[in-house]
């Protein structure tokens, strides 16, 4: 409960922190742990990491620069005022191990127009770190939290009130994967290893239209705000896409794999429910709720990603060809854009599937054949 006294105390505390920056600094260096700097890469790719590790916990150093920018979100050239962690929407996937410390330097360059922060669903306290990371353009902040729970977790910007949903659906979300120190395991404790990992971040976008039904373009995020909120409040996105735009994971950008490889697909949705499905494949091991302390489900056809969570699915490709990875609300997949493609090389397995007879006209009735059964008699 927010009383006048606590408000005053808060103000006093803030004044104290401001007056003694040295004190705030010292708390950051008392951890006598090795440090490792990690260079993040944009989705769908993931920075190099160990799956199981013999090393003792470390301080994992990350740096993310917030970038507000105009991007194109579909083939028709529709523009969008994006807010991004590190220039991509979603932001990059961060990977650490349980017991590691995540130390993030969050930078809000002076070229941006708004305050931003970050809320880690993997972190404990202070609104996931959001309270401690609100920075104006021209500022940066360093947050450290201990990765105490394993799994894949969403992070997102949460600068307060109506800014929260707007910043999130403008692109400010991503995911962190906290691996068990001894790696992933199936339900009976057998280690699971992936040959490739892809991070698919799903965006629901709400783009206003003009009186002729054409998508509007804006010069700054602020200009777009009022119209965008109006579209958001109808809860009907104009685009549902992976990695920030229609076709970001098709054609030249299709995901690659080979027959026999285990592929881990991390899927996050910071704001809305989704139902990933791999057309022509399955989920061998699926952490639907994304938390590795629970045994993965096996052999799934479609899995569910609750809005505000991330999930992980592992699949060994058994057949070459083109696969579509969609959200199996097919209206969203086909009409709104949530389709990715996998190009898989390897040898076809006739035993798993074969076209016994290619399409041909229905043969005429054979003379002397038994008449079709009827309900009479």
């Amino acid at each position: 409960m927010l009383t006048r006294r606590s408000t005053l105390m808060g103000a006093a505390l803030a004044a104290l922190v401001l007056a003694t920056p040295a004190l705030a600094q010292t708390s950051g260096v008392d951890l006598k742990l090795p440090r490792q700097r990690v260079d993040l890469v944009a989705p769908p790719f993931v920075h190099p990491h160990e799956q199981a590790t013999r090393q003792s916990p470390k301080i994992m150093e990350f740096r993310m620069v917030i970038e507000e920018k105009k991007v194109v979100i579909d083939e028709q050239g529709t523009t969008f005022q994006a807010m991004t962690f590190n220039g991509s929407m979603p932001g990059p996937l961060m990977v650490v191990h349980e017991g590691d410390y995540v130390e993030l330097t969050l930078v809000n360059p002076g070229t941006n127009t708004m305050p931003h922060n970050i809320d880690f669903h993997a972190a404990t306290g202070a609104l996931g770190g959001a309270e401690l990371t609100l920075i104006n353009p021209g500022e940066q902040v360093v947050l450290r939290f201990k990765a105490t729970r394993t799994g894949v977790f969403v992070y997102h910007c949460a600068p307060g009130g109506p800014m929260i949903p707007w910043h999130v659906v403008s692109g400010m979300h991503g995911a962190i994967m906290v691996l068990p120190r001894d790696g992933l395991k199936d339900g009976s404790g057998k280690p699971l290893h992936y040959d490739r990992v892809y991070y698919i971040g799903e965006n629901d976008l709400y783009v206003p239209r003009d009186e002729n039904g054409k998508f509007k373009s804006y010069d700054s995020p602020g200009d777009s705000y009022a119209d965008t909120v109006e579209v958001m409040r109808k809860l009907t996105p104009t685009h549902v896409v992976f990695e920030g735009s229609v076709g970001a994971l098709t054609g030249k950008n299709a995901l690659k794999a080979n027959v026999g490889e285990n592929v881990l697909i991390v899927h996050s949705q910071a704001n809305r429910d989704s139902r990933p499905h791999l057309i022509g494949g399955h989920g061998d091991y699926v952490w639907e709720t994304g938390k590795f302390s629970n045994a993965p489900e096996t052999g799934l056809e479609t899995w569910f990603i609750r809005g505000g969570s991330a999930g992980a699915a592992m699949y060994k490709f058994l057949q070459p060809g083109i696969y579509a990875y969609v959200t199996h609300n097919l209206i969203e997949a086909v009409e709104l854009g949530a389709t990715a493609h996998f190009k898989v090389d390897g040898k076809w397995n006739d035993d798993l599937m074969t076209q016994v007879k290619a399409p041909a006209p229905i043969p005429p009735k054979v003379e002397g054949a038994l008449p079709a059964k009827t309900t009479k008699n």
Binding site: P320, G321, A333, V344, W348, K357, A358, A360
Partner: protein
């Protein structure tokens, strides 16, 4: 009829007199450039000829998917085909005169193609234009389109391994991705994709064009057993595609794992009129 003939001759003469450049210009390849006149669009009349053509449709042999054969298509009459796709402005004229159904976007730009039109929309336009001009217009067949497109026509043959269906889908995907390149789907002004050797503009740019050819499946070892589905027509462009006739926007309606056409538009063929047929005018 004689009156109509006279009228046409007079019109032709007037057209020539009004445009000293000449209404019909002979091009280097022997085709004739026919300038726009009133409601008549600018046309290019190609001389008869032939083209090696990868047959449209799906083919089987011995009950297995087979590669589509290449056949020689002979065009025996001069082929008069529109120099550009039907413009957004011309389509809007058809809408204004209640010959065509309104499109999602009321674009009326003279130098931009009409896009997001279905095969039925294109045929409404055919009827309106034919009525308005007194000439007989129609969609080209896929063979005619390939003949007119010349170097802009893409052979979509792929080696087929009857025992590995993934070879075909991967090869097709690779090629369609390659052809699509980095061009986005925003329609561009006429001329943006240049002219082919016959002076036809913007073939295989980012607007695919409807043809009158139906989707067929033919058993090469029993051609009589063809299945013809005229609810799906061939569209031509960067790659050949098969689109359901009432679809206006194929980019959201392709199959789950293909590269769909960016835009659907069309250009028409004008049937030779009596004068042309009799006197080669």
């Amino acid at each position: 009829m004689p009156l109509a003939l006279k009228f046409k001759v007079a019109l032709l003469a007037a057209g020539i007199a009004a445009t000293p450049v000449a209404a019909a210009t002979l091009l280097a390849d022997g085709s004739r450039d026919i300038a726009a006149r009133g409601a008549e669009p600018a046309l290019v009349e190609l001389r008869p000829g032939s083209v090696a053509y990868r047959a449209a449709g799906e083919f089987t042999r011995a009950g297995k998917i087979a590669e589509a054969p290449v056949v020689i298509v002979r065009i025996t009459q001069p082929l008069a085909i529109m120099k550009t796709q039907v413009s957004a402005a011309d389509y809007q004229r058809c809408v204004a005169e209640r010959g065509c159904k309104a499109l999602a976007a009321a674009d009326a730009r003279e130098a931009h193609p009409a896009v997001q039109v279905s095969w039925h929309d294109a045929n409404d336009y055919v009827r309106w234009l034919s009525r308005r001009t007194g000439a007989s217009y129609r969609l080209p067949t896929d063979e005619e389109w390939a003949f007119a497109a010349g170097s802009r026509w893409h052979d979509d043959g792929v080696a087929i391994d009857a025992n590995d269906p993934s070879r075909r889908s991967l090869a097709r995907y690779e090629r369609e991705t390659e052809l699509k390149g980095t061009v986005d789907g925003t329609p561009r002004p006429f001329g943006s994709f240049g002219a082919n050797e016959h002076g036809l503009i913007d073939l295989s740019g980012n607007v695919w064009e409807w043809t009158s050819t139906c989707f067929t499946r033919i058993a090469l070892d029993n051609p009589a057993a063809a299945t013809v589905n005229c609810g799906v027509r061939v569209v031509e462009g960067q790659h050949r595609s098969y689109v359901t006739d009432f679809i206006r926007d194929a980019r959201a309606g392709g199959c789950a794992a293909g590269i769909p056409p960016s835009n659907l538009g069309f250009r028409l063929v004008r049937e030779p009129n009596v004068l042309e047929r009799w006197f080669g005018l």
